[in-house]
C-alpha cells in the first residue's frame, strides 16, 4: 500500500512533534474547558450575589413606601431602578403571581404563576407546599438564550405589615373596634409577594466568550510553536545523527568501511563512535580474510600446477637414478647425477610453494611449529628481498606441540619475515630462533634483524585494541593481521624496533 509505505518515511522528528502538538492541544483543551466553565460559574455566582444584595436593598428601601401604601412611589422607584447595572426590569408580584407593580406598564395585573420555576420550588402541581423550611431563600433562574438572570426575592410578612393600617377604614371606625386602621395583608401569610429583578448578563457572557476565543488561539499557537521548536530540536539532536547513521549503514552494506560517520551528541554520539569502531573491526576481519583468501587461491593454483609437475618429475628422478645405477662411465654417472639433483631441487621448490595455505577456515590441530618455521624460511629465501640477507635459524628441537592452525601460523611468520626484510633492503642478518620456555610453559619464537627498524607509523597503534586500521599502510595492516593471528592462539607479541635493528618476540602457551 503506497500510503502505508509513505507513512513509514515520516521522520522521527515529525512524529514526535506532531504527537507533542496533539498532546498539548488535548491537555490545554481540557484544562481550558474546565477553567472557562468555572469562570462562568464564578461570574454567575458573583452576579447572583450582587443581584441578591441589590434586591434586598430595594426591598428595604421600598418597605417604608409599601407600609405607607404609597403605590405611586413604589412604581416610580421601580422605574428608576432599571437601566442601572444592567437591570432590565423590576416588578413586584403578590404571592398568587399577579404583577402588582412593574417597570413594564404592559404587564401590570397579569398573572404569571403558570410554569414558573419560582412557584415550583415550594409548591407542587396541586399547590401543596413541600418545602417547609424556607427562610432567606432567594431564587435565581438563568435564561441562557436571552442572557438574562431572573432574581426573585420573597417579601416576608412581618408584624408591621399585617397590623399597621394601610389606610383609614371608615367601616371599622364606625364599628368602633380597637383597630382603627385595617391591614391589607393577612397575618397568616408567610410570604406576601416577590420582588423580581431581571438582570442582563450580556456583557459578562461576551467577556467570557472573548476570553474563551483568546484561550483557544493561545493554545493553538502554543501547541504549534512547541511542535515547531521540538521538531527542529529533535531533527538536530536525533534526526541528523540518525540520518548519517542510516547512510553509514548503507555504505557498509556496499562494502565501504573506510568512511567515518560524523560524531553526534549524547547517546547517538556514543552510537556513532561504536559504529565507526565496528567499521574498523569489519575492515580488520575483511583484510585478514582477504589475505587468507589470496593465499588460498594461490594455494589452489599451486596444487593444480604441482600435479602437472610432480608426475613427470617422478619419471625424471626415477629414470635418471636408473641410468645412474646402470652406467659404467664416470662422466655419464656425473651427468645423470646432475639431472637427478636438479630434479630433486624442483621437488623441493614445489613442496615449498605448496606449503602456502590451502585451508579455508581456521583449522586448529596439535602441531609442531618447527617444520612450519622451516617451511616459511625456505619459502622466503627465494624472494629477491632476501638475496642479501643472511638467515641464521636456530630451533631448539624437539618443541612441544601446540594447538594451532598451521596455515595461519605460516601466514604470520611470512608476514614478519617480509616486514623484517623490508628494513634491510641493502642486506643484513636475520636471526630466527624458537625454544620451549619450561618455567612459563610457553613456546617462544624470536626474530632479530639488523635493519633500520619498522616505521613508527606502522607500530604506533598495533597495541591499541581500538585502533582504526583503515588508513594504515601495508606494513601496519600486516602487523595487525599478525597480532590478530597471535590473539587467536592466545599468544603474546612484543616488538622492539630501533634504528639499528628490530626484535620480535612471539610466545604461545603450550
Amino acid at each position: 500500500m503506497k500510503i502505508l509505505d509513505k507513512l513509514k518515511y515520516i521522520s522521527i522528528s515529525t512524529r514526535i512533534s506532531i504527537l507533542l502538538g496533539i498532546i498539548i492541544l488535548l491537555t490545554m483543551g481540557v484544562f481550558s474547558t474546565f477553567s472557562l466553565l468555572k469562570q462562568k460559574d464564578d461570574a454567575i455566582s458573583s452576579i447572583n450575589n450582587n443581584t441578591g444584595q441589590l434586591s434586598h436593598t430595594i426591598e428595604k428601601i421600598l418597605r417604608f413606601s409599601m407600609l405607607k401604601n404609597r403605590r405611586d412611589e413604589i412604581s416610580l422607584a421601580l422605574n428608576n431602578i432599571i437601566g442601572n447595572e444592567g437591570i432590565k426590569s423590576a416588578r413586584i408580584l403578590n404571592h398568587e403571581g399577579v404583577i402588582k407593580y412593574s417597570s413594564r406598564q404592559s404587564e401590570l395585573n397579569k398573572n404569571v404563576s403558570q410554569n414558573m420555576p419560582l412557584c415550583s420550588s415550594c409548591h407542587d402541581i396541586n399547590h401543596n407546599m413541600f418545602n417547609i423550611e424556607r427562610n432567606n431563600f432567594n431564587h435565581f433562574s438563568i435564561d441562557e438564550k436571552n442572557k438574562i438572570i431572573y432574581n426573585s426575592l420573597p417579601i416576608y410578612n412581618a408584624a408591621e405589615c399585617n397590623s399597621g393600617g394601610c389606610h383609614y377604614s371608615s367601616d371599622k371606625l364606625s364599628a368602633g373596634t380597637d383597630s382603627i386602621f385595617s391591614s391589607v395583608h393577612n397575618p397568616s401569610q408567610t410570604i406576601l409577594g416577590f420582588i423580581e429583578i431581571e438582570v442582563s448578563i450580556k456583557e459578562v457572557i461576551y467577556d467570557l466568550e472573548t476570553t474563551r476565543t483568546q484561550l483557544i488561539l493561545l493554545t493553538v499557537l502554543f501547541a504549534f510553536l512547541a511542535s515547531v521548536i521540538t521538531y527542529f530540536s529533535i531533527r538536530y539532536l536525533v534526526g541528523k545523527p540518525v540520518k548519517s547513521l542510516v547512510e553509514g549503514t548503507k555504505r557498509v552494506a556496499q562494502g565501504d568501511f573506510k568512511t567515518d560517520i560524523p560524531p553526534g551528541k549524547a547517546e547517538l554520539g556514543i552510537l556513532a563512535e561504536s559504529f565507526n569502531k565496528m567499521q574498523n573491526q569489519l575492515f580488520r576481519t575483511q583484510t585478514q580474510l582477504i589475505e587468507s583468501e589470496k593465499l588460498a587461491s594461490v594455494g589452489k593454483l599451486a596444487n593444480e600446477i604441482a600435479n602437472e609437475i610432480n608426475n613427470p618429475l617422478t619419471g625424471i628422478i626415477i629414470f635418471s637414478e636408473s641410468l645412474l645405477e646402470n652406467s659404467n662411465s664416470n662422466n655419464s654417472k656425473n651427468d645423470y647425477d646432475t639431472i637427478r639433483q636438479e630434479a630433486l631441487k624442483i621437488r623441493e621448490s614445489v613442496r615449498n610453494v605448496l606449503s602456502i595455505t590451502r585451508h579455508e577456515k581456521p583449522d586448529f590441530k596439535l602441531i609442531d611449529v618447527a617444520p612450519v618455521i622451516k617451511q616459511a624460511v625456505s619459502v622466503v629465501k627465494k624472494f629477491s628481498n632476501f638475496r642479501n640477507i643472511k638467515i641464521i635459524l636456530g630451533i631448539a628441537e624437539p618443541l612441544p606441540v601446540i594447538p594451532a592452525d598451521a596455515a595461519l601460523i605460516e601466514q604470520m611468520l611470512l608476514n614478519f619475515l617480509l616486514i623484517s626484510s623490508e628494513s634491510m633492503l641493502t642486506g643484513g642478518i636475520l636471526e630466527i630462533s624458537a625454544s620451549y620456555k619450561e618455567e612459563i610453559n610457553e613456546i617462544e619464537i624470536y626474530f632479530h634483524d639488523t635493519g633500520k627498524g619498522i616505521p613508527e607509523s606502522a607500530l604506533r597503534n598495533i597495541n591499541d585494541e581500538k585502533s582504526d586500521i583503515r588508513n594504515f599502510e601495508k606494513t601496519g595492516i600486516s602487523l595487525v593481521v599478525c597480532k590478530d593471528i597471535i590473539g587467536m592462539h592466545q599468544g603474546r607479541l612484543n616488538i622492539n624496533s630501533t634504528e639499528t635493528g628490530t626484535s620480535i618476540t612471539i610466545a604461545f602457551p603450550v
Binding site: 600435479n307 609437475i309 610432480n310 608426475n311 617422478t314 628422478i317 626415477i318 629414470f319 636408473s322 606449503s355
Partner: protein
C-alpha cells in the same frame, strides 16, 4: 622360481607406471606390475586376480578415491592399499577415512629408494599380519 609380487598401479599418468617399473626393475624379487588408468578397470582386475599390493593415486578418473578404496577392500579385504599423491605435503593433508584405510602413503615425486623401502615396509607388515 622366484615368487611374483603382483602389484596393481592405478594412476592416470603412464609415467608413474613406467617409473615404478623402472625403479623395481633391479630388485631381487620379481615384480608383476599391472597398470590401469581408471577405477573401473582397476576393480575389474582386482576381481579377477589376487594382488599383493595396490598403489592408487588420490586423483583417479571415474571415482572418488575413498569410494574406490572401499570397493577394493570389499572385493579383497586383505590387500594393502597405498595412496599416492602429487599435491600433498604430508599425511595430515588426507582425510581421516583415508588415513585409516591406507597401508601407506607415497608422495610424488618419489625416488627409487623411497618407493622401494615403502613397498618393502608394507609387504613385511602385511605378511606379519597374515
Amino acid at each position: 622360481m622366484k615368487p611374483d609380487i603382483k602389484i596393481l598401479v592405478l594412476d592416470k599418468e603412464e609415467i608413474i607406471f613406467k617409473s615404478i617399473q623402472k625403479a623395481l626393475n633391479n630388485d631381487a624379487a620379481f615384480y608383476d606390475i599391472t597398470y590401469c588408468t581408471n577405477a573401473f578397470d582397476g576393480l575389474k582386475n582386482i576381481r579377477s586376480d589376487k594382488f599383493d599390493l595396490v598403489l592408487i593415486d588420490i586423483v583417479l578418473p571415474g571415482m572418488n578415491a575413498m569410494e574406490a578404496i572401499r570397493r577394493i577392500k570389499n572385493i579383497d579385504s586383505t590387500v594393502p592399499v597405498v595412496v599416492m599423491s602429487g599435491s600433498s605435503l604430508s599425511g595430515i593433508d588426507f582425510q581421516d577415512e583415508i588415513l585409516n584405510s591406507a597401508a601407506g602413503f607415497l608422495l610424488k615425486p618419489f625416488t627409487t629408494e623411497e618407493i622401494k623401502s615403502l613397498i618393502l615396509r608394507v609387504l613385511k607388515t602385511n605378511i606379519a599380519a597374515e
